[in-house]
Subunit: 330 residues, 2 copies
Amino acid sequence: MDPLTYADAGVNIERAESFVTRLKKQANRPGHKQMWNAAGGYASIYPLAGDTAVAVTTDGVGTKLLVAEELEEHGTIGIDLVAMVANDLICVGATPTMFLDYFAVGTLQDKLADAIISGIIEGCDQAGMILAGGETAEMPGVYEPGKYDLAGFAVGNVTKKTLITGDRIAPGQKVIGVASSGIHSNGLSLARKVLKGNRAAMSKLLKPTLIYVKPVVELFNSLPSSITGMAHITGGGWRNMFRLSDKVGFQIDSPLPIPDILAEIGKFVKPDEMYRTFNMGMGLVIIAETHAEKIVETFTLAGFNAQVVGVVTDKAKTLTVPSLKLTIHD
Amino acid sequence: MDPLTYADAGVNIERAESFVTRLKKQANRPGHKQMWNAAGGYASIYPLAGDTAVAVTTDGVGTKLLVAEELEEHGTIGIDLVAMVANDLICVGATPTMFLDYFAVGTLQDKLADAIISGIIEGCDQAGMILAGGETAEMPGVYEPGKYDLAGFAVGNVTKKTLITGDRIAPGQKVIGVASSGIHSNGLSLARKVLKGNRAAMSKLLKPTLIYVKPVVELFNSLPSSITGMAHITGGGWRNMFRLSDKVGFQIDSPLPIPDILAEIGKFVKPDEMYRTFNMGMGLVIIAETHAEKIVETFTLAGFNAQVVGVVTDKAKTLTVPSLKLTIHD
């Protein structure tokens, strides 16, 4: 089998990016000037009162839904849904408060619906958020029986003190990686194509996304100025780091272990494509100006595997992994 | 043809309501106690700083999507999407600020995507909101080619001063109705079933939902204490008024004209079912303690058709329309 790419799996990233560019241009209004900018654009931030702003973001779980469907296991997909938005929200320096779900089905089935909601509530608990509302839409004709979609919406608050602008990211700062649990919720179209028919591997795909909120919020309180950038590693894989700054690059000297499931997929996909699509063992990246060891310790105490994985360089828009002789450009 | 009901169209409201009841019970956490209560539960409100809170809500456009699909006209469905959440947000006394969309497709098609986004932006302009972010998800396998779904998230701010709690609703207060443009975005499953094959009528179904934000926000500023309740008439039709208070009832003496499209549907559906499903000419209901005429005038000047339609009564959970000899219970 020839090595596969994300485009082979039917997802055209360039078309999507071109659409988003057009959209942003068309949507631009004077009101956008009031918004606060944050590194990576992981959330939208609007000032509310005094020094405090509200941060919001939305996402889905993509085609991980189809894995849940194939395995008929819907109890953890809600954790993924919360993870996708909660982990985004912390990247701007926000403390998540409320989660809302949009759950659309062809015909509402109690067992399926209860399983999904259990996962969402478990995810909210892990993120320290409350499930504050949502919409359950029954749409016969849009979704076939048994099919559904999920969107999540996370709300948090952020102050000027914890806001992560990315402006202070500079060469020499430490890059801290926090381990992922597996594939998380990105690159599933490609993964499903590669692993088709391999039920044991499919089951590993379903492992829920880790939620990094609690140790991060602890760090917002204990070390509010140490963190200069934070990247949730989602669609686009390690390129997510480029979102933090266009003035620097990254050198990853000590990568975290690659989860089995990603190693399995890596047998069929070129390394470059792997790092441009998957989290490759690292679900969250933190750039630290100071206290890198203390940050690592905070994650370790919270039960996460974390370590200093590399350093910020002056090679703008360039990421290198010397041990793999791998270079990725923005 | 026998008269049709909403259940005949494949939508089981009781099952959905039972699910939401279970969900709320299971999701309950201490954090919910911090939330502000508002009449009708149209949005979730979490205190942010001092006297200010953030209000959020989510919704979709339901099977109005299928009408857009059938007619291949996708330019206004985005207006409906914004309307559904923006009109909900004002019902708690919030001023909408940000809108985020979740747009999921099988395969991204430029023409379709651009049409949808144009509608969303038009809706945001009508609501005085900015399109602050969103997610465009390409999910081959979940959605067939040409199929898509949309969810909208609206964010606003609310203060103790404008918060509409419903506590001050009392018998004798005026009920003001603001006209709808047609079916808006609710009851479409039933409507489609009734009007199947009638292309002229289908086209009328697609008329965009009116967005009531601007005059209402004007009233929050000019008459902050006159409004004691506000109901966006969505799924459940006129029963939405019951959401405002379980201590009072409503008598509608001078209903607004019924839009042609709803009259057409009414040929096949019993009156009771019509009022329990559709807006019946009234997209927004306002309960006013004072200044009813001034409120009507504010809507009129903003280009809406509005009038005092009735009065709050002491017959709890009972809505009467004497001219139609119609009584609806909660």
